[in-house]
C-alpha cells in the first residue's frame, strides 16, 4: 500500500504540473496574444461591457436590471427565493413583494402603470392568510387599509405587529391588473451582474432618458438599436440591450 500511495503522490504531482500549470498557461498565452481585448474582460472606457453597473437615482441614464447582490463583483449571485415566496418576514420581504415594489417604482419613474397581478396598489404582495372565521392581509402591517375589504364574506384585517400567521392557509390574490412594466425590470438576474435589459424595457425607458437629456426620442431609440446584442448565428440566446455601452454612448 505504501508503494501504491507513492505512485499516487507522483501521479498527482505530474498531472498537476501538466493540467494545472502547462494547460492554463498555454491557454493564457493564446488568449493574451490572439484575443487580448476579450481575455481581459471586454473593457470599455469605464468598466466592462459585460458587467452591469448601478445607475439607480440617475434619471439621465438607462437603468440596469435589479441585482440581488448590489452589482458587487466580489459576491455574485441570485436572490434564490422560491416561486412561492409570498409572505413577508420583518426585514426580509418576500420575492413577491420585491417584484411588486420594483414594479411600482419603475412605473412611477417611467410614468406608466406599475400594477401587476398578485400585487396591491401599495406595491406589496397581495396575499391573505385564511383562518376559520378570520382573514388577514399578511403583507400589510397595521394601520394599513387592506387591499380588499372582505374575502368569502369575512372581513379582511391588516397584520398585527409581532403576530405569527404561519398556521393560516396562504391565498395569493391575482386581482384584475395586467402588467406594463416588463418582467426583466422586476426580477433580479442570476449573476447580479446581468449587463442586458430586454428591448421592451429599453423602449420603456427611452422616453424618459430623451426628456431628461433634451434629445429627440428617435435619436435615443436609434442608440438603443445600435447597442442591442442579437443572438449568435440567429438562434443562440435572446436579444438584449447592453446598458453600460448604451449609457456611455449617450454621454458622448
Amino acid at each position: 500500500m505504501t508503494r501504491r500511495l507513492g505512485v499516487a503522490v507522483r501521479a498527482l504531482l505530474v498531472l498537476t504540473v501538466v493540467a494545472g500549470g502547462l494547460y492554463p498557461l498555454v491557454v493564457l498565452g493564446v488568449a493574451q496574444v490572439f484575443f487580448r481585448h476579450k481575455a481581459d474582460g471586454s473593457l470599455l472606457a469605464k468598466g466592462s461591457r459585460l458587467i452591469a453597473q448601478d445607475f439607480a437615482g440617475s434619471p439621465r441614464y438607462f437603468q440596469s436590471r435589479p441585482s440581488a447582490t448590489g452589482y458587487d463583483m466580489l459576491r455574485t449571485g441570485a436572490s434564490n427565493l422560491g416561486p412561492e415566496s409570498v409572505v413577508d418576514v420583518p426585514g426580509r420581504p418576500s420575492l413577491l413583494t420585491q417584484v411588486c415594489a420594483r414594479s411600482k417604482r419603475v412605473g412611477e419613474r417611467e410614468g406608466v402603470s406599475g400594477a401587476r397581478p398578485f400585487c396591491t396598489g401599495s406595491g406589496v404582495g397581495a396575499v391573505l392568510k385564511v383562518f376559520p372565521g378570520r382573514v388577514v392581509s399578511v403583507n400589510e402591517p397595521c394601520p394599513a387599509v387592506p387591499f380588499m375589504t372582505e374575502y368569502q364574506g369575512v372581513n379582511v384585517e391588516c397584520a398585527q405587529k409581532g403576530q405569527s400567521y404561519a398556521a393560516g392557509r396562504t391565498v395569493p390574490i391575482r386581482g384584475g391588473a395586467r402588467w406594463t412594466v416588463p418582467p426583466d425590470a422586476v426580477t433580479a438576474s442570476g449573476s447580479g451582474l446581468d449587463p442586458h435589459i430586454s428591448v421592451r424595457y429599453a423602449d420603456l425607458q427611452a422616453a424618459r432618458v430623451a426628456r431628461e437629456r433634451g434629445r429627440p426620442v428617435e435619436e435615443v431609440r436609434a442608440l438603443v438599436r445600435r447597442h442591442t446584442d442579437v443572438p449568435a448565428i440567429g438562434f443562440m440566446g435572446e436579444p438584449g440591450v447592453n446598458v453600460l455601452a448604451l449609457n456611455l454612448d449617450l454621454d458622448r
Binding site: G47, D72, L74, A78, G82, P83
Partner: protein, 546 residues
C-alpha cells in the same frame, strides 16, 4: 432550436469521438509524453491489475488528491497568486476537497472572494481533469469486464488515468478553452482591481484564468464555477454562443461513451441501444423543463409575467431551462440560472434528473457505468418474468452480479433520504434553509440528491458554508462516489472471469427497441418508487397545492 442543434451535433460526433475513446483505452502504443509520465510514476503500463488492485489504486489516488487539495487551500496565503485571501476555513476546505475529487463540485464557498488563482488553477481545475479521468477509467474497466473472457484482470488504472487525461480531456479542453476565449470568456491573472465607473468613482473588477477552467468544468462534467454565479456570470458565460458551447461540452463525452462501449464489446448496436435510452430520457426531460418554465405556473412567475427571477436576459427562459436540464442530466452541476427560483415543477425536473442516478447521459464515465448497471438490472427483471437465468452480452447475471448491481443502486437513495431526514431533524440542518414550507424541504432534498449523485448544482438559497452542512454533504459526496465505484469494479472483476455463453432462442436481445423501452421503464420506476414520497412533500406540494 438550441436543443435541436445540440442533438444534431452530438449525433454527428457520436461515432468519431466514441471511436477515439475506444482506441485510447484499447490501444497498445504510448506517446512520448506518456512514456515519460510512466517513468516518473514508476509504473509499468502493461501490467494488468485484478479488480481489488485496480480499486485500491483508485482509492489511493483519490485519498492523496483529497489530502493535497485540503492542504493546498489551507496554506494558500503563503503561496503566490493568492490575491491576499486568507486560508480557507477547515470545514469549507474539507467540503471543497471532497467535492472536487468526487467530480461533484458542490461549492459551499464563493470563488471570487475565497480562492486565489493558484488554488483554482492548479488545485481545483486539476481535479476537474483527473476526477473525470477516474470516472472514465472505472467505466472502461467495467466495459473490459463485459468484453473479456476468462480474464482475471481488468486493466491498469495508472495507464487509464494518464491516457484519459492526455489523449481525451486535455486536447478537448484546450480546444474548448480557446473557443470560449474567442467568444468572450476572460483569461488573465488579474485580481480584484478598481476601474473608473460610469457615474464617477470606481467599480471593482476581478478576473482570473476563467476560460481554461470553464472548458474542463463542462467537459469533465464537474460544474464548479470560477465565480459564485457560475455559468450565469457574464465573464464565465458572456453570450448565447459560449452558452451553447458549454452545453455541448458537458454532453460531449458522456453521449459518446456508449459508442466506445459498443466498439469494445464488438457490437456497435449495443452502444446504439444505450444511446437510445439516453436520448429518450434526455429529450423528454429537456422538453418538460422547457414547458414548465414557459408556463410559469406559480405565484411569483405569474406576477412577474415570466419566470425571469434568477435568469439572465441573454439566455432567456428557454436556454436557461435547457441548460438546467443538461447540467442535471449529466452530473455537471454548472448553472446559468438560479434553480431555486425556477417554477416548482421546473425545479422538480432538475431534481428528478439527478435522482435518475445520473445516467442520461450522466457524468464522464460514471454515466456509462450507471447505465450498464441499469442494463444488468433490466435483464435480471426480464429474466425473472420469463423464468430464465438472465445474461447480458453473453455474461451470466447470477447471484453475485445482481447483488453488486443492486447494492450500487441502493447507495444514493439511502444517502439522499437519510441525509434529508437528518438535516430536518436537527437545528444546524434547518438553519441552512432560506425559503420556508415545501420549498425549504426542496432545498434540502436537492442538496442531498446533488451531493450523493455527485452533481454539484444547488437550490442555492440553502446556506451550506456551516460546519454541519459542510461535513454532512462531504460524507454524502464521498460515499456516493466511491462505494458505487468499488461495486462497479467488483462486478467488472467477476464478469471478466466468465467465459461468455452463446446466445440461444431464449436470450433476451439487448439491442432492440423492446430492450430500450425496458431499461427506460426500469429507470423511471425505480426512481419513482424511491423518491415519490419526498417529491410529493417538496416540489409537488408547492406546484400543485397553489
Amino acid at each position: 432550436m438550441t436543443a435541436l442543434t445540440l442533438v444534431v451535433v452530438l449525433a454527428l460526433l457520436y461515432r468519431p469521438l466514441g471511436d477515439h475513446i475506444h482506441r485510447v483505452y484499447s490501444g497498445t502504443s504510448d506517446t512520448r509524453a506518456e512514456r515519460l509520465t510512466y517513468r516518473l510514476l514508476g509504473v509499468a503500463p502493461r501490467r494488468e491489475q485484478r479488480w481489488p488492485g485496480y480499486a485500491r489504486s483508485v482509492l489511493a489516488f483519490s485519498l492523496v488528491s483529497i489530502l493535497f487539495l485540503y492542504v493546498f487551500q489551507r496554506v494558500q496565503n503563503h503561496l503566490f497568486l493568492s490575491l491576499g485571501f486568507p486560508p480557507v476555513t477547515d470545514h469549507v476546505a474539507w467540503n471543497t476537497a471532497v467535492s472536487f475529487v468526487t467530480n461533484t463540485n458542490w461549492q459551499s464557498y464563493a470563488g471570487e472572494n475565497t480562492m486565489g488563482h493558484l488554488v483554482q488553477m492548479s488545485g481545483l481545475a486539476v481535479q476537474n481533469f483527473v476526477s473525470a479521468a477516474v470516472g472514465l477509467a472505472v467505466a472502461m474497466a467495467l466495459v473490459r469486464g463485459f468484453a473479456r473472457s476468462g480474464s482475471t484482470t481488468i486493466g491498469n488504472f495508472w495507464a487509464d488515468l494518464v491516457r484519459g487525461t492526455y489523449r481525451i480531456l486535455l486536447p478537448l479542453a484546450f480546444a474548448g478553452a480557446v473557443l470560449l476565449v474567442a467568444g468572450g470568456v476572460v483569461q488573465n491573472l488579474a485580481g480584484p482591481h478598481e476601474v473608473p465607473a460610469a457615474l464617477g468613482g470606481t467599480t471593482t473588477l476581478t478576473g482570473g484564468p476563467v476560460a481554461s477552467q470553464e472548458a474542463v468544468k463542462q467537459l469533465g462534467t464537474n460544474g464548479g464555477g470560477f465565480y459564485a454565479a457560475n455559468s450565469a456570470h457574464p465573464w464565465e458565460n458572456p453570450n448565447g454562443w459560449t452558452n451553447w458551447l458549454a452545453n455541448l461540452l458537458m454532453l460531449l463525452i458522456p453521449v459518446a461513451l456508449p459508442r466506445a462501449f459498443g466498439r469494445m464489446v464488438g457490437q456497435n448496436r449495443q452502444g446504439y441501444a444505450l444511446a437510445a435510452v439516453v436520448a429518450v430520457i434526455a429529450v423528454a426531460s429537456v422538453v418538460l423543463t422547457n414547458v414548465f418554465e414557459l408556463r410559469a405556473a406559480a405565484t411569483v412567475p405569474q406576477a412577474a409575467g415570466m419566470a425571469m427571477e434568477g435568469k439572465e436576459v441573454r439566455f432567456g427562459l428557454s436556454e436557461s431551462a435547457t441548460f438546467a436540464a443538461s447540467t442535471t442530466l449529466t452530473s455537471t452541476g454548472a448553472v446559468n440560472a438560479a434553480h431555486d427560483s425556477f417554477t416548482p415543477l421546473g425545479g422538480m425536473m432538475t431534481m428528478v434528473n439527478m435522482m435518475l442516478g445520473e445516467v442520461a447521459p450522466g457524468g464522464v464515465g460514471s454515466g456509462l457505468y450507471g447505465l450498464l448497471i441499469l442494463a444488468v438490472i433490466t435483464v435480471f427483471v426480464a429474466g425473472l418474468m420469463v423464468g430464465r437465468t438472465p445474461e447480458y452480452l453473453g455474461k451470466k447475471i447470477a447471484a453475485r452480479e445482481i447483488k453488486l448491481a443492486s447494492l450500487y443502486f441502493l447507495v444514493t437513495p439511502v444517502l439522499v433520504l437519510t441525509g434529508t431526514a437528518l438535516a430536518l431533524a436537527n437545528r444546524a440542518g434547518l438553519a441552512g434553509m432560506l425559503n420556508t414550507g415545501p420549498h425549504g424541504l426542496s432545498e434540502v432534498l436537492y442538496a442531498f440528491a446533488s451531493a450523493a449523485n455527485n452533481n454539484g448544482s444547488a437550490f442555492a438559497g440553502l446556506t451550506t458554508g456551516t460546519p454541519w452542512w459542510d461535513v454532512a454533504l462531504g460524507v454524502a459526496m464521498l460515499v456516493g462516489r466511491f462505494v458505487p465505484i468499488v461495486f462497479v469494479l467488483a462486478l467488472a472483476g467477476s464478469l471478466a472471469r466468465q467465459t461468455p455463453v452463446p446466445s440461444s432462442a431464449g436470450t433476451l436481445p439487448t439491442h432492440r427497441p423492446q430492450f430500450v423501452g425496458l431499461v427506460v421503464g426500469v429507470t423511471v420506476v425505480v426512481v419513482a418508487l424511491t423518491f415519490l414520497p419526498a417529491l410529493a412533500l417538496g416540489p409537488l406540494a408547492e406546484g400543485v397545492g397553489g
